[in-house]
Symmetry: C2
Subunit: 213 residues, 2 copies
DNA sequence: ATTTGAGTATACGGCTTGTAATTCTAAAAA
DNA sequence: TTTTTAGAATTACAAGCCGTATACTCAAAT
């Protein structure tokens, strides 16, 4: 009973097409419904396949969510990050970085839903956190290129602050009753302030001397 | 068969004691475990009661979570907010406000777990959002008292930015690899910068003229 | 024509949140 | 002290998840 060679071209293509259909159906479902009603049964029905097919394709609920995030990142033009980190003017690059991510956070509602799912899916949380670290490294690289008169600790503080300012939770908090452009302007202003703190001011700033118990 | 009057003193007291025990058991469970394994069965067992007792006391899972949040807010010394909004120096009051909330976010790990639960529990999300609006109003009140040379829109932007800076997501993002005191210092510095933008700078700041598509 | 693989159908087990009916227990009233 | 009564425990049930296992279908590759 030695298995004979079998390479399926059309079958693999059809499977890949169905896989993409399931991913798109999941993304569409996430755009239209809160994450509390997201279930494999629902997306399977929306994609016209069975729940078992989803399992065969993605292994688990978390696997499907990670696959959805991958296409979201691909469609979200996050490839621009490579451009902005090499911007001749690092400061301008940082502003463009903020714009790229505001664009990403506001472009597809499914992105926010995925962030909600992080609370219930530890695997997805790790995957997204890892992706976010790329943003932190991009910010740090831009800061390094700015030749700032600051200690390593101050640079790290600034990088972490800008990392947080350009995060999805920050964007969501500022998006209440405000356009995406307005939220982006606020975020860029705050990032700019964080940079000014490192350049124009004395090492011990106005509020850094206060106590905290 | 007209029921005769019956007012239970000791029984009601015992019920209230059990209620508090359930709340404390839930908080302890949340401190020790991630929210993904939180179930009424677990907390009921930890509290030494039955799951049905939890339902009789709190009505639902969300009801229990809201009750937990109430005692957390009570223990978290959030009553200091009333003091800081009436601080003679509004700017100092804002710094104290940031400290009060950094204290709250870092004081009990259950607070963070409750924020995680917001993603799965819409009722809890509404309840916590409503509480958070109190913070926004406190920030706005302090800003009003500062007599800033700014338009209403600029004040609203600053209030929203400071509201976001003092939120739990911001604190969590800045707490990675940093002490609570360090995160608080960063947050206060950012808040201070947001105020400086309204006072010392021209109405059109350095980064506010950039575009966003 | 026969093997092969992907999808389907069906079923099960385990865990959740809720609800319902019944019984037990101890405190309050007579 | 005896009876009434509220609260909790017990048991059971319905529905919805996720995840897995087995057998079956059917089109594609050999």
């Amino acid at each position: 009973m030695t298995p004979r060679p079998y390479v399926s071209r059309a079958r693999a293509a059809a499977a890949e097409a169905r896989r993409q259909a399931v991913i798109e159906a999941a993304a569409a479902f996430m755009r239209a419904n809160p994450m509390t009603v997201f279930s494999l049964e629902s997306v399977a029905a929306a994609a016209g396949v069975t729940r078992l097919t989803v399992y065969k394709q993605f292994g688990s609920r978390g696997g499907l969510l990670e696959a959805v995030f991958d296409v979201l990142a691909r469609n979200g033009r996050l490839g621009r990050i490579a451009d902005v980190v090499t911007d001749p003017d690092p400061r301008e690059g940082l502003m463009r970085l903020a714009e790229v991510f505001c664009d990403f956070w506001s472009g597809d509602a499914a992105v926010g839903r995925l962030h909600d799912a992080m609370a219930t899916d530890p695997d997805l949380a790790r995957a997204l956190s890892e992706r976010n670290e790329r943003r932190r490294r991009a910010v740090a690289a831009l800061l390094e290129r700015m030749q700032l008169p600051a200690t390593a600790g101050q640079r790290r503080d600034a990088a972490d602050l800008i990392f947080a300012l350009t995060s999805y939770p920050m964007f969501r908090l500022l998006s209440g009753g405000r356009s995406a452009a307005g939220a982006c302007a606020l975020i860029k202003a705050a990032c700019s302030d964080a940079l000014d703190r490192l350049t124009a001011r004395p090492p011990a700033g106005r509020a850094s001397g206060t106590h905290w118990h």
